[in-house]
């Protein structure tokens, strides 16, 4: 008699286990699908330049280096977070040709969002050669870095500016 009872119990347990297994599962994070599409003789931004989150005491700089895509700081500036990254662009040639990449020569001003305080980015640097020999329909990407100049006691906030790069196709 006790054997019969325990058998029913185990059957109920099995049913529970089965119904739990029947629920579909989803990953905590789904994959993304991405594509970069470009027409020849154009240049397209893939990534904005971002110095991340910085703290400042005395004056200093934050330098984005485009070959390693790395951030270093000098003086009283320290990197305290965010996702610092160089700007990145992609272009494509139409025919066998040599293209010429031009990055800003001087400095670009960043203005605090909701304010008037400014900083500058100077000494723009290019990943690789400025002249690239390309085959027909060959695409090329390049990163652009620069030096952010932070004054002592720079007002906290988000600073934004824009800069242009130009690709000369023959």
């Amino acid at each position: 008699m006790s054997g019969a009872v325990s058998a029913r119990l185990s059957a109920a347990l099995a049913l529970c286990a089965m119904s739990e297994a029947a629920a579909a599962v989803t990953p905590q994070q789904q994959a993304t699908a991405g594509a970069t599409i470009i027409h020849p003789l154009t240049v397209t931004k893939i990534q904005d330049m971002d110095f991340g989150e910085l703290s400042v005491g005395v004056a200093g700089t934050a330098v984005l280096e485009p070959n390693a895509n790395s951030l270093t700081t000098t003086g009283g500036v320290a990197s305290i977070g965010g996702s610092p990254t160089c700007a990145e662009f992609v272009g494509a040639a139409q025919s066998n040709s040599v293209v010429n990449i031009k990055i800003p020569n001087g400095s670009v001003t960043l203005t605090r969002v909701g304010g008037t305080e400014t900083m500058t980015v100077s000494n723009f640097t290019l990943q690789g050669q400025s002249k690239r020999a390309l085959a027909r329909a060959q695409s090329f990407t390049f990163r652009v870095g620069g030096t952010l100049n932070v004054a002592a006691g720079q007002v906290e906030g988000l600073y934004v500016g824009t800069f242009d790069v130009t690709v000369q196709y023959p």
Partner: protein, 169 residues
Amino acid sequence: MKKILANACAVAALALISAPAYAVSPAAQATATAKIYRPLTISLVQNLDFGTIVLSGAGAWSGEVVSMSQAGAVTCGGGTNLTCSGTPQAAQYKLVGTNNAIVTISSPGFNLTGPGTLAFTPNAPATVNLGASGATTGVVFDIGGSITLASTTPDGVYSGTFNVTANYQ
């Protein structure tokens, strides 16, 4: 003789009535079976990337399909209008569950958005066998897919998110 027979019948009837009081065994025993599964988990391993696609064809054209196999190999349209480069890769998910269990995969289509919208049709396996080490190391499976491009497709960076679910078969 007749009386004895009647008595015998009475005894037999008595035996029938009392029969439920004794344990009896049916000719065939019922079996109780239960298959216990480990909880199934699925996790992201890597994202899908088509790489860089140059719309290199001259003039106006449309209907060029860029497809990626589950192995990550890209077929770059018909060959005249598109030029694919970069390091394309298929999406990958990892399943951990009961050894040798069959898992069904669902991956509905979605859009890649950016400067425009591209319909993305996933190419996922219908089922995955978790194999001998499904409970320990698990099994990684790949998902490819396809997009259709035209000379008028706006250029830029496109991205979309899968909606993959898995379930024991």
